[in-house]
Amino acid sequence: MSNEDVLNPKEMPHEPEKATLEGKNKFIGFWFFLGGETVLFACLFGTYLALNGSTMGENTPEHLFGLELVFIMTMLLLTSSLTSVYAMYHMKNNDFGKMQLWLGVTVVLGLGFLGCEIYEFMHYIHEYEFTFQSSAFGSAFYTLVGFHGGHVLFGLSWITALMIRNSRRGLNLYNAPKFYIASLYWHFIDVVWVFIFTVVYLMGKVG
């Protein structure tokens, strides 16, 4: 396939993200990467579970966590997962405008999530003097949740960069895989969050 065909395809194939060899490679490679990320987060979860009792007698999970904010954050992130599904739906139908729109919604929801998280951390630090350094539990909590937050931030920047870069030229076989794997990444972030709200917050509240 010549470069011209890739950038200006006469007709979009059924699965544009996997139409070229490069696309297929990206697709498989990114999934494999997510397999590795699974282990990475498992190690962080394991560390958290091993240390969540090491609170040095203060600021225990039960005491700290409030479920309202976590619920809102969960809803934001779950919904953003759906909106990115919408975006991919429109990509497959070769409707670039709608795809951009839904990606935009995804980014806004993601920003909302991130804002809540920053607020939450600030709250803990200022109200409870509960920091990264106060106990092993503090270190483990901020590391696990912070790693996830970092992923959110990276995902947002990535999707935004893709949207801006391609805003003028529309969809083609070169950027379709890029959009696709960015959305995979976004879903994965949601997967991790499901475990975070379950293991850290809900189970923390149960004690």
Binding site: L7, G35, Q133, S135, A136, T143
Partner: protein, 617 residues
Amino acid sequence: MSTAVAQNRGLGAAIWDYLTTVDHKKIAHLYLVSGGLFFLIGGLEAMIIRIQLMEPSNNFISAGLYNEMITMHGTTMIFLAAMPIIFALMNAVVPLQIGARDVAFPFLNSLGFWLFLFGGLILNISWFTGAPDAGWTNYAPLSTTSPGHGVDYYVMGLQISGAGTLIGGINFLVTIVNMRAPGMTYMRMPLFTWTVFVTSTLILFAFPALTVGLFLMMFDRMFGSAFFDVALGGNAMIWEHLFWIFGHPEVYILILPAFGAFSEIFSTFSKKRLFGYSAMVFATVLIGFLAFMVWAHHMFTVGMGPIANSIFAVATMAIAVPTGIKIFNWLFTMWGGNIRMTTAMLWSIAFIPTFTIGGMTGVMLAAAAADYQYHDTYFVVAHFHYVIVGGLVFGIFAALHYWWPKMFGQVLSEGLGKLTFWLFFIGFHLTFFIQHFLGLIGMPRRYWTYQEGQGLELGNMISTVGAFLMAIGTLVFLYNIVQTAVKGEKVSGDPWDGRTLEWAIPSPPPHYNFKQTPLVRGLDALWVEKMEGKNGMTPAEPLGDIHMPNNSILPFLMSLGLFIAGFGFIYQVDNKMWLILVFIGMGITLGSMLTRSVKDDLGHHIHKEDLEKGAGE
């Protein structure tokens, strides 16, 4: 190696070419040269260790320096010598063996290399400011409380080079999954490719554990967190588990490609197809699978309790079964064959008893209770040098002699090769066999010195003598490389009467590897054609334009950025001004990443007409 190119276009252009290359064959050269240099440095450190231990109460180097020496020896050898040389072989051989023109992610391939190199540089720069001294296993709290910046260098260096390895692993996984030539089913893949596939999978799942461990270590040392600090409720065991969840698969990451190379060599030089190919594949996969269930055998004495110890003991022993399958299959590959004693074959043949001994001591170590005696003694040192040097380093030597013509178009001198072999082989056994007994009679490892009158003098002396023989052997090998390069005799594409696809193309292969993608019709694809009296492979496609990736300096820049940021992280503990380096470095890296994602890079085409004229070779 690229001397010819250099003379034509000037040194600057050649260096630029290597800085920007995304060609897997050139990246193989880069890996080989840097891995080789690190091997020499690691070997030098080993020699210093051996000289210090030559006699009791020796004072050749100080106690603190000794700990730095063993730490750097272990770290350098494993991460900066063994792994990269394996990556050199993977890059040089795998795409050719599966009939691909390139790897799946040429850009990432180059990024992986530069990350490894800059990580390695960080580690070794620590020699100028105080090297890490907590052992290559870097157990907390010894590491978290180690004064100076040595351990910080360890953390940053391994973090960066580890990222490179992970990227490299994913690249090879996808290459093998997606880029195989038509007809090359999984069960027709050469065994080396299979082992690389499994090794890459292990990399994918093992390295994240190291990444997390290193992050926690970094946070504890540089940002005041308390993961391993018992005073704040931390737990030092977490590091040990994370390290070994990575560390045990790591040893199979190292050995499996060597197994693959031996499989190719045994089969080629016995002129027989590999005995029990499917069992070999099965065994490889099984070893990879079991590799993740046994890590705690390094921790039998930390007090996990008898239940955990027993489970891990039995699981560990299980690995002997697939490994045994391999040993016997190799023996029966030679059985009934027509064995040619080339240098590559010599190394491979020597590997069998050596590795069997190492594996057997491994099983002895796996007997949990007995490990209460062996653990952290020279018995363990003997075990792992038998498997690592006797398995992996022998494998590297064998593979280098075997694939040297493919990589560089010249055959290494067989005479010098055999001399290297005998020196190294004898030296190796002198050095390490005796160490089993040193351990059993009570010599712990990581001992800067031992007292007189403990009966350890003779054994240590012998061991040191052996190490010198190995060093001489290595020097002969270096001389061999130089002499071969100077002689510059060209060799055909298929000097060994090979069986697999890489021997179907010229040596060294042209930029695009295969002019026309070959059609694979069975295991040992080239051999199949040879047996039908054909000269080469049947093409699977008509001659057409070939799509190739573009060179790029970005991988180098991204890695350079992290290198700079690494120093910022290390020294911001002393003075926050150093954070400037973090910003500059991360700026370079993120900027390069952004450039990469907004600038289209569609590669270029080599045109059909040029191919017909034979350009690009």
